[in-house]
């Protein structure tokens, strides 16, 4: 018999709580992570930083090399190139090397805090190996429209074709201009037509209101009722009271009529004043028409400020637009404190998914904080274009959290660009309820190359070369702006081109007078409403020179324009003024007549009231006297009767 061998069922292997077998995948994961950080992380970080910076600047930003150290918590970047958006083949800025030491304490909190950084080998306006990519401009928003408005304002103020207009004036181009077709275009003529139509409509309304006023018949009726009223020979007080009541009823009706006349008079006076104001505005429009037609005749304005504006304005406007752009960017990237926010309060910002809340407190780390960066650059280095030193202090993503403003200071020279003794300071203070930015730039000495000051076609006034000194200051606080520019150009060599001798002589005369050009410009107010001013000794010299040469032609031109305007609207204006005067007389006369009649009735009413009151008083006095007499008679009678009774009693008792 075969022995049946049975194997006992295998006891399942008991497994522990920990997964020992996972040590290998865990180690593998750690190794993969280590290799990623060793080989790929720097490249990915460089790509991410390039993308972020390109979006922030609006033009391609390249980072030549980037090296991070995990254990050392450090970052080093080299050959950073920022494309010039206006000239993509060149760099606006090139930095040789940036090195920063990060704080582990902050990294553990998910923040990037750079304790100390160094920025070396700075150059500006360097050529690029290939043109950089320029991002399309962002969709227009409030800031962009304000910038457009700013540019439009600058263009309208400082635009023009001064030299061309002067050349045409000398050539007699203006004398042939005809003004036959100006009738419809004149603003003053349009206003006069409007006023005429308005006056026609109002006249109808006024006449209707006058017709609704109490007429002569109504007022005569009041007078007749007043006359019929009994004023003396009253028999009793009741009769007087009846008279007074009738008088009061007439008074109420006269008062209503007086109010109606007064209201109509006031309304008509107000309307007449409006029409008169409109007629007064015509004077201003006439002046405007004369200016507009002067522009059509190309009569240039030759005051010193306009000429200074033409010289300095376009350049100044460009700088203002730059300032606005940088300020808008600073406010977008460095959020300011809200007007009612307390220092340690929460801040929020929208994100694509959800909302990030920042529970910062004073002296806590913001998401990014560059505590201090030292900038140094030597012009002696190979290919280095700047001899520069400076610092960036407290560049933070949340200035309110650190409670300190961003401060940038740069000082140095750019010998390859011919710029020496340059100093720039920037303070961006977004720690206060109203954000403030201050920027100043001083260039001690810089070479000015060929530059045009005034140009119209073949007519040009420009600089061949000069030595410049510049001071530029911009202060922004909330919506208010104050920007100054002072520029001095010495050792000036002018370049003059003109199509006729008279213009050439005028330009040469001004140039000879001014060997050192001083220009000052200021814009202040708000971005939407800026007050501009510009002054320059070259502008004043041009004014004098142009006035000497062109005053006669200008005066003749202006006289022609004024005559044309007056000819077009003079008759219409006189007719309207006469119509207005006639209406004023008629209307105010009618109202005054009614008012006089009502005054007379009121006086009569008052007289009647006085008479009736006196009559009532007399009657009351008479009644009182009669009552007194009756009382005395009664007293006497009672006394006599009492005496008589007393006598009777004495007789009876025998006294």
């Amino acid at each position: 018999m075969d022995k049946v061998v049975t194997t006992p069922p295998e006891k399942p292997k008991r497994e522990g709580l920990f997964r020992v077998g996972a040590l290998l995948p865990l180690g593998l994961l750690a190794a993969v992570l280590y290799l990623y950080f060793l080989l790929l992380f720097d490249a990915h970080a460089r790509w991410a930083l390039e993308s972020l910076a390109t979006r922030a600047v609006g033009a391609e930003v390249n980072i030549g090399r980037l090296r991070t150290s995990f254990w050392g918590a450090s970052l080093e970047m080299g050959d950073i190139q920022v494309t010039d958006a206006d000239e993509p083949a060149r760099n606006q800025l090139q930095i040789g090397r940036v090195r920063g030491q990060l704080l582990w304490d902050a990294l553990l909190r998910g923040k990037v805090v750079v304790e100390e950084a160094s920025i070396v080998d700075v150059a500006i306006d360097t050529p690029r190996a290939r043109p950089g990519r320029v991002l399309p401009p962002p969709p227009p928003d409030e800031g962009a429209s304000a910038t457009d408005a700013l540019l439009a304002e600058a263009r309208s103020r400082y635009g023009g074709n001064l030299l061309g207009d002067l050349a045409a004036l000398v050539a007699g181009g203006a004398s042939g201009t005809s003004f036959d077709d100006i009738g419809e275009a004149l603003a003053s003529a349009q206003r006069l037509r409007g006023l005429e139509a308005e006056l026609g409509v109002k006249e109808q309304a006024w006449r209707e209101r006058l017709a609704a006023l109490p007429g002569e018949e109504q007022l005569s009726g009041y007078e007749a009722r007043l006359r019929q009223l009994k004023r003396n020979d009253f028999r009793n007080v009741q009769e007087v009271q009846r008279g007074l009541r009738e008088l009061e009823a007439i008074e109420v009706e006269i008062e209503a009529a007086a109010r109606q006349v007064q209201g109509t008079g006031n309304a008509i006076s107000g309307d007449l004043q409006g029409v008169q104001k409109g007629l007064g505005e015509v004077d201003g429009l006439v002046q405007q028409d004369i200016r507009d037609l002067g522009a059509r005749l190309k009569l240039p304005r030759l005051d010193a400020e306009s000429l200074s504006g033409l010289l300095l304005g376009p350049d100044f406007a460009d700088r203002l637009v730059q300032v606005r752009g940088y300020a808008a960017r600073a406010r977008a990237y460095l959020p300011e404190r809200g007007p009612e926010e307390k220092p340690a309060q929460r801040q929020e910002r929208e994100r694509g998914t959800g909302k990030d809340y920042a529970f910062g407190r004073p002296n806590s780390y913001p998401a990014f904080w560059l505590k201090r960066a030292v900038i140094s650059s030597s012009a002696l280095g190979a290919g280095i274009a700047a001899d520069l030193e400076g610092s960036i202090v407290d560049l933070a993503s949340d200035p309110v959290a650190i409670g300190r403003p961003l401060q940038v200071h740069l000082k140095g020279s750019f010998p390859m660009r011919g710029v020496y003794d340059a100093e720039a300071r920037l303070v961006v203070d977004h720690t206060t309820p109203v954000p403030a930015e201050r920027f100043s730039l001083a260039l001690g000495r810089y070479a000015v190359g060929a530059r045009e000051l005034l140009a119209s076609g073949p007519n040009r006034l420009g600089l061949a070369e000069a030595r410049g000194r510049l001071r530029f200051e911009a202060q922004l606080q909330g919506e208010s702006v104050d920007v100054h520019l002072e520029q001095t150009l010495s050792d000036v060599a002018y370049r003059i081109e003109a199509e006729n001798d008279l213009l050439r002589e005028a330009l040469a005369g001004a140039a000879e007078e001014v060997s050192t050009v001083e220009m000052r410009a200021r814009a202040h107010g708000t971005w939407s409403q800026l007050e501009w001013s510009a002054r320059s000794n070259l502008g004043a010299a041009l004014q004098r020179s142009f006035s000497r040469q062109f005053q006669r032609q200008l005066d003749e031109g202006r006289a022609r324009v004024a005559a044309a305007v007056n000819e077009r609207i003079g008759a219409e204006r006189r007719r309207l003024e006469a119509q207005y005067a006639s209406l004023e007389r008629t209307l105010q006369g009618a109202v005054a007549e009614r008012q006089a009649e009502i005054k007379r009735l009121e006086a009569e009413l008052e007289r009647g009231k006085t008479q009736l009151r006196e009559a009532r008083q007399a009657l009351e006095d008479r009644i009182a006297a009669e009552a007194e007499r009756a009382r005395q008679a009664q007293e006497r009678q009672l006394k006599e009767e009492a005496d008589k009774a007393k006598q009777e009693l004495r007789k009876r008792i025998g006294l």
Binding site: P12, E15, G16, L17, F18, R19, A22, P25, L26, L29, D105, L108, R109, G110, K111, A344, R346, R351, T353, G354, K355, D356, Y357, A358, F359, G360, R361, S364, Y365
Partner: protein
């Protein structure tokens, strides 16, 4: 990839065995937290470490993370509302300020409304998912697996040489 596929096959194997109910349920519960968390966050790292260190069914966690991740994506607007309500609660502001300024904890991105909402919802639902997963696994074994084993096809396949070879291989190498 092989590791992850192996984990999924292991899940199927465990479902058809008599053991590992708790591991599978715990895997689904952690998968819920994983699916509701941002990919790059401290809590994801912690959950992954837990999965690797403890004997929790990784396949279940991965499948859970995938399906709960889809649900989380659809529920993000609700998470956003819940997160905002929590983060804007005045009473909790001092706590959040402390957490925000502590080391490591900001790496959870708890200060984001969607993350906070999803985190709270996943933490609240994780025990329920664990219990429900256990019940479902038991039910699956009692009904689906039992039915599968009673089918002719299954019985026929068990007699094939390939199945015998597999069972022998499993016996020898596990």
């Amino acid at each position: 990839m092989t590791f992850f596929l192996r984990q999924v096959f292991e899940l199927i194997r465990l479902l058809h065995s008599e053991a590992g109910t708790h591991q599978i349920a715990a895997g689904f519960a952690l998968g819920l937290i994983l699916g509701f968390s941002p990919a790059f966050s401290l809590q994801t790292v912690v959950v992954v470490l837990l999965l690797l260190m403890f004997r929790i069914q990784i396949g279940a966690a991965l499948m859970g993370a995938f399906f709960f991740g889809l649900a989380a994506w659809a529920l993000d607007p609700l998470h956003d509302v819940a997160g905002r309500a929590i983060l804007e609660a005045e009473a909790l502001a001092p706590l959040f300020t402390t957490l925000y300024n502590m080391p490591l904890l900001p790496l959870t991105r708890f200060y984001n409304s969607v993350t906070m909402g999803a985190m709270v919802v996943s933490m609240a639902l994780a025990p329920a998912v664990y219990v429900i997963a256990r019940w479902l696994v038991d039910k699956y074994r009692l009904t689906v697996v039992a039915w599968l084993r009673s089918t002719r096809l299954y019985k026929a396949m068990r007699t094939t040489s390939l199945a015998k070879w597999y069972l022998r291989y499993k016996e020898l190498y596990g």
